[in-house]
């Protein structure tokens, strides 16, 4: 059985906003899509709020490491956003040519969250940057739950993503039904990356190893179960860093990712894609 042949994830949406760099996001999406043979849809949102602020009389910007601010101009901003969109579209085309995957791009204007939420329907996994323009001004996890309202899984790529060859880690908070899809994806990713799957059992109510819902999707020799007790978020983040995981798979509706602060602590340490299943 080839990796992902029975996977539920068939269609992946990449949500892209003009304030982010598309490379790490696209690379992650490409790896997952190739592993499970999924279709890729890139959606670039020309964020309207960026155009709004560029029209304000006092609008200025400054680059990282820059010494002075520059006045923002509507036309310049619009051109810059269009350029970003074009680059993203080209990059998606290249992925399609190189991988033979079905790839498509959509470009729209408006509010990032609304636009992606609208596109998410019919997609099994939505990939977004950890710090898109919009998330700097609202709650990341609230927005993510909004995006996941169509029962899509959400993958968050941290801005400082590192490509590690460590294990795929599943964070088990005790809800086995939600872990079903995580096991499937972890099995495929671990096989293609030739790495192991580690299940971190965070809840005392977690299932015994024999009763895990789809353990067979992961080869027996590649799976390890580690029970954690008396942990807090910092300890967990530290443990995750030590593993240098390639991916972390978790539950969207567990306790771990119920607010931005906890999520940020995890993301800061791991620098790996975090995939949350509803």
């Amino acid at each position: 059985m080839s990796p992902g042949s029975q996977n539920r994830i068939r269609r992946i949406l990449i949500g892209m906003d003009p304030g982010s760099d598309h490379r790490s996001l696209l690379n992650t999406a490409r790896e997952i899509a190739e592993t499970i043979d999924a279709e890729l849809m890139g959606h670039f949102v020309e964020e309207s709020s960026l155009l709004h602020i560029s029209s304000l009389p006092f609008a200025r910007s400054i680059v990282e490491g820059g010494t002075q601010t520059h006045a923002l101009d509507f036309d310049q901003m619009e051109k810059a956003i269009k350029r970003q969109a074009k680059r993203f579209e080209n990059a998606i085309s290249v992925v399609g040519i190189e991988t033979n995957l079905t790839c498509a791009t959509r470009i729209s204007s408006g509010d990032f969250l609304s636009e992606i939420q609208a596109s998410a329907s019919g997609h099994d996994l939505v990939l977004i940057q950890g710090t898109p323009s919009g998330f700097t001004i609202s709650s990341m996890m609230t927005d993510i739950r909004t995006l996941s309202s169509n029962s899509s899984a959400i993958a968050i790529c941290p801005g400082n993503l590192q490509v590690y060859r460590g294990p795929v880690i599943i964070l088990d908070e005790g809800n086995n039904v939600e872990l079903q899809a995580a096991f499937e994806l972890a099995g495929s990713l671990s096989q293609s990356r030739k790495t192991s799957v580690i299940v971190l059992k965070l809840d005392k109510h977690s299932e015994t190893e024999e009763n895990y819902p789809d353990k067979n999707s992961v080869q027996q020799k590649n799976i390890q179960f580690v029970s954690l007790s008396n942990w807090d978020i910092e300890i967990l983040a530290d443990i995750l860093r030590q593993y240098q995981p390639g991916y972390i798979l978790g539950q969207l509706n567990g306790k771990l990712f119920h607010n931005d602060n906890l999520t940020r602590v995890i993301l800061r340490g791991i620098k790996a894609p975090l995939i949350l299943f509803p």
Binding site: P18, G19, S49, R60, S61, E64, T69, H70, T136, I137
Partner: protein
């Protein structure tokens, strides 16, 4: 065959036969091989002197003809001398970490170079495991994580504080394609321009003022980020160095201990240590990226070109146990790079690059501390080699410079390796001509090559040397793994050795030629299934060798026998004689008769050499003609002006003529023309003449006799044929056996002549005549007839001049007689 007044030479003088009976052995199996060369005492002593003297500039030039055993003698002697000396030290090139284009040369005790090389290879292999392990340790990971977290937290904290501060004022921070920007928020979203403009002016101004203040804070935070990252990287580097030093120290201290008594190696190892610590990231999976923790490396990492910097290029070494004596190097192909070494390049992404590991030793390096033998001609014919050799010997250092560098056309990265001190004895082997040309034309030569080792070409033939020669033949047989020779075959080889040096009293020392002859005879013996090489095998080899080269000689002979080239071998003719010349084609020489004619008449005392007039005569030939003119003038009609006009010509020659060996023949032709006495055409003549009428020695006497004999034999020997040779050339006679036999049977004769008078008597059968007390030659002698003719020419010339003058002088009273009349 006899002449009325002069007898031909006895047969035993025509060829110095080597009697096999004189030998005490039957075959060369019984002989002890000869260790030394025969007759090269002077050369051997010169080699000994040259190799023993340590003074600068006393290098050797071994001169002599090819094949006379120069290489064998040098080889044998040097190997013996070298065995008495201590083996040379090792030399290694190592990386110069401060100036990589100037690799460092280090001298080490014998066998230590390999030890250092292996130790360094092991060090790097160990560190490729030890360093990643060190960086995988919990201690490193914890400290590294603390650094990672601190920078992440510092960055985030700075942003979070600003974000919180901004949020309190309903202002958001946005990441745009053009950088970070601040915007007032409305319902958690950036406010639209129309909504902003609709706000009361006070509110707008307040928002703008707040944003202005926050903008400054944002600038501060964003400017701080690169500094934070720089501090972070500095801290990571310091941490890495600290851990790397621990790993490096453990491994390198072991090597430092091994080479603790070698200060240069200690310095080098310190530099290695410093460089390893500074470049520790190359020992890890990937060069460290910001925020990344190293992964464990695998064995392939050692192949990374980066690690070449820690290699040791062992330029010269010997295994301690195998090292015996000083090196003796024979460099057959002395190009510049083969002599002084080279720096090779490798292609990398289309560019040629190099490093110290690509420095290769040359012959000078390999011979350092010992002897280097070079062929002079090859050294001189290779571009830049001669100058490089002299430069190295003058400076006592080996500096590697490629030809491209010297010409300034090198466009690739190259190196300037440390020069290596040189202590070598160079032995150049070459021909004499080269030696004398170098002495004349190269002012440096004699300052560097002060010892000339002059190899002789031949040795006196005596009972003692013949015995040694037999031993030499025995040595060659063993060395070349040939069949042994019978005593008869040895005698045949010895006779050929005399023929080779064209002297019956000498033996050729051109061992190469003798060796070739033995090989050929060996083949014939094998074909004939002889157990030993016999005399007939040697003779067959000689015959066959001559036959292989004989085509031109045969064609030449054919032209004569078909009367295309006119040569008389019987009858008589006035003013005509057979001269003899030698033609050289490659290494084959043969003699050939040439008709020389002379014509005389009354004139102004001039002998015209037609060869010279048409610029076919060389200077020696012209000198010969002038000498015979002088002989005539000083020998005949001393009281009369020379009133002779004579012309001399080599008939049917179409190339240049040089040498004076035909001057006696020219004189005989002239005397015949003057006397009107015919010369017997059955004779051919060779020999030069001086002003006193003495016949002097010439070269190629055997070939000349054989050339004329072949013509006579082709036409049928009459018994009235022979060759006149100078008396001094008797010792050079080593004639073919068939000629000796013909002479023995009286069908041919060799006449040894010491004066022109003797020669003319043989050629004409008439006495030359000597002056009586009154100074007159007896009547009916050649000299009398010649003198009479010359007086006759002088008288007629005088009469002629008087008549001429009378006809041309105006008849006046005060006219005076001419000077000649006075």
């Amino acid at each position: 065959m006899t002449n009325k007044s002069f007898n031909p030479l006895e047969v035993h003088r025509l060829r110095q036969v080597c009697d096999p009976e004189q030998f005490s052995f039957k075959t060369t199996e019984e002989l002890e091989p000869l260790d030394n060369l025969i007759g090269q005492q002077r050369a051997l002593e010169a080699i000994k002197f040259g190799t023993n003297i340590d003074t600068k500039g006393f290098h050797l030039f071994v001169l002599g003809p090819a094949g006379c055993g120069r290489h064998t003698a040098v080889d044998t002697f040097l190997k013996e001398e070298a065995a008495k000396k201590t083996p040379p030290d090792d030399w290694v090139y190592v990386n110069n970490f401060e100036e990589t284009h100037k690799p460092i040369a280090i001298r080490m005790q014998i066998g230590q170079g390999i030890k250092l090389r292996d130790s360094m290879d092991k060090l790097i292999a160990d560190l490729l495991t030890a360093i990643p392990s060190m960086f995988e340790s919990d201690e490193y990971r914890n400290r590294r994580r603390a650094l990672d977290n601190s920078v992440d937290e510092a960055q985030e904290k700075a942003f979070e504080e600003l974000k919180t501060k901004a949020a309190e004022q309903s202002i958001g921070i946005l990441r745009t394609p053009m950088g970070f920007s601040l915007a007032p928020l409305q319902d958690g979203k950036p406010i639209k321009p129309e909504d902003f403009n609709a706000l009361p002016e006070d509110d707008r101004k307040k928002i703008e003022a707040n944003i202005d203040l926050l903008q400054k804070d944002l600038e501060e935070v964003l400017q701080k980020l690169p500094l934070l990252r720089k501090d972070y990287m500095d801290n990571v580097r310091a941490l890495n160095s600290e851990f790397a030093e621990i790993a490096v120290n453990i491994s390198i201290n072991e090597i430092m201990h091994i080479f603790s008594d070698h200060s240069e190696i200690k310095d080098y190892l310190q530099a290695v240590k410093h460089d390893l610590i500074n470049n520790v990231e190359f020992f890890l999976g990937n060069k460290q990226e910001e925020g990344a923790v190293f992964s464990v490396t695998d064995g392939r990492k050692a192949m990374d070109p980066f690690f070449r910097r820690y290699k040791v290029n062992v330029l010269l070494t010997q295994h301690e146990k195998e090292a015996q004596g000083a090196p003796v190097i024979f460099e057959d192909y002395p190009t510049l790079s083969n002599l002084v070494g080279r720096i090779e390049h490798i292609s990398q992404q289309g560019a040629l690059i190099t490093d110290f590991t690509l420095i290769k030793a040359g012959a000078l390096h390999r011979a350092n501390g010992g002897y280097l033998v070079l062929d002079a001609r090859r050294v001189l014919s290779e571009p830049f080699t001669w100058e490089a050799l002299k430069r190295s010997l003058r400076s006592d250092r080996i500096t590697i410079r490629s030809a491209a560098e010297q010409l300034g056309i090198s466009s690739t990265i190259s190196l300037e390796p440390d020069p290596i001190p040189l202590s070598v004895k160079v032995i150049l082997v070459g021909e004499r001509l080269l030696y004398y040309l170098l002495v004349d034309l190269d002012p440096d030569f004699q300052e560097i090559f002060k010892v000339n080792v002059d190899f002789d070409e031949d040795v006196e033939r005596s009972g003692e040397t013949i015995a040694l020669y037999a031993q030499l033949i025995s040595s060659l047989v063993r060395k070349e793994k040939l069949k042994d020779l019978t005593s008869g075959a040895v005698a045949a080889v010895i006779e050929e050795a005399s023929r080779l040096c064209r002297d019956s009293e000498k033996l050729s020392l051109k061992i190469g030629d003798i060796s070739d002859l033995l090989h050929e005879a060996n083949l014939w013996a094998r074909n004939q299934e002889h157990k030993y090489i016999e005399a007939q095998d040697v003779e067959k080899a000689i015959e066959n060798r001559a036959y292989r080269s004989d085509r031109i000689r045969e064609k030449s002979l054919e032209q004569i026998t078909r009367d295309i080239i006119l040569i008389d071998t019987d009858g008589e003719a006035i003013g005509q004689i057979n001269g003899l010349s030698v033609l050289s084609i490659g290494n084959f020489q043969f003699g050939r008769p040439t008709r020389i004619t002379a014509r005389v008449r009354m004139g102004s005392g001039k002998v015209v050499d037609i060869e010279r007039e048409v610029k076919l005569g060389g200077p020696i030939h012209t000198k010969g003609v002038l000498i015979l003119s002088s002989f005539l003038a000083s020998h005949y009609a001393l009281n009369q002006p020379v009133s002779l006009w004579a012309s001399l010509v080599f008939e049917q020659t179409y190339g240049g003529v040089d040498g004076d060996s035909a001057s006696s023949a020219e004189l005989y032709a002239l005397l015949s023309a003057l006397s009107g006495v015919p010369i017997k055409q059955g004779y051919a003549v060779t020999g030069s003449v001086n002003q006193l009428g003495q016949v002097q020695a010439i070269g190629g006497v055997n070939e000349k006799i054989e050339g004329f004999f072949d013509v006579c034999q082709a036409r049928g020997l009459t018994g009235e044929q022979g060759v006149l040779i100078p008396q001094a050339n008797i010792r050079h006679l080593m004639l073919r056996k068939d000629i000796v036999k013909a002479c023995d049977e009286g069908k041919f004769g060799i006449f040894a002549i010491s004066t022109i008078d003797q020669g003319i008597e043989v050629l004409t059968g008439i006495s030359a005549g000597t002056r009586d007390e009154e100074g007159n030659f007896p009547e009916n002698t050649i000299n009398h007839m010649v003198e009479a003719q010359l007086i006759n020419f002088a008288t007629r010339q005088r009469d002629f001049n008087k008549t001429e003058k009378k006809n041309n002088t105006p008849k006046t009273e005060d006219s005076k007689p001419s000077e000649e009349e006075e």
